[in-house]
Symmetry: C2
Subunit: 135 residues, 2 copies
DNA sequence: CTGATCTACAACCATTTGGTTGTAGAATAG
DNA sequence: CTATTCTACAACCAAATGGTTGTAGATCAG
């Protein structure tokens, strides 16, 4: 997205990882579990029909997305929720919501104008001349 | 996922698709674009370095996730934002936020108690005997 | 010490994803 | 009518995902 100069790059990948992590029912369930209670990796694995290694991988995905952190305790690894990731995702969706509302306001403004001879269509085509693209 | 009985099934897949759709920078950019302005598929494709077909696929992913809808106009296909999907995603993350806050409250309550001889650790292990999983 | 448990990680496999090119149909422009 | 534009879709490919089994190192129980 627009990678205008710098800085967005890493953040984009970070956001990709965040939403990717949420895009799996098992992982969402794990996040919910470890938010409420305390679970070791094997404690989590016992909850699902899949193998221990599979759950281990899911936890790893959540960890890379900063949604979860592991803490060693004896021979166990305790998985705990990391609220930062969740907040980031929420804030991002909130931004989209804000953009949406701004757009609604703009349209309301247009409709509220004294009908300046123009056609009814919103008429905001592309041809925006934005610098760059990249995703 | 555990698919306890019924009902959650479709919703889970729907949510999977939602977050999956957001887990790509180009797609997030498309959502932002079509929220603000009006774009045909080729109008969008012109913004990115990838091929037309690639952008077409991204739009299709967003469409399956109910984040976007296409409307035929002459030989063009106008892509417009569908706010419902965005709202669903937001509401879901809000639920997680609520769970998190409830947990924080619970812990605050525990700390506020008159120190009932228990150890300092929160001590909420699994062994919860929770009925099923999905909620 | 011995055995059981918890974890990490490698290797493998099937499917999905994100991209490409190419072909073909519909609508518009001249 | 012909040429161009916009779209749809198939076929293909490399890489990532989500799962498996197997092996091996740490830690705890007896």
């Amino acid at each position: 997205m627009v990678v205008d100069q710098l800085g967005t790059q890493l953040r984009d990948e970070e956001i990709d990882r965040l939403f990717q992590a949420f895009a799996d029912t098992t992982r969402r369930d794990i996040v919910r579990r470890v938010t409420v209670g305390e679970y070791s990796v094997s404690g989590l694995a016992a909850l699902y029909t899949m193998s221990f290694a599979a759950v281990q991988k899911h936890v790893a995905v959540l960890e890379r997305a900063s949604l979860v952190a592991k803490e060693k305790r004896g021979r166990e690894q305790i998985v705990r929720a990391n609220h930062d990731g969740l907040q980031k995702a929420r804030r991002l969706l909130d931004e989209y919501e804000i953009i949406w509302r701004q757009r609604a306001d703009r349209i309301a403004d247009l409709l509220a104008e004294t009908a300046p001879a123009g056609p009814g269509r919103t008429h905001e085509n592309q041809q925006d001349g934005n610098r760059k693209v990249e995703g």
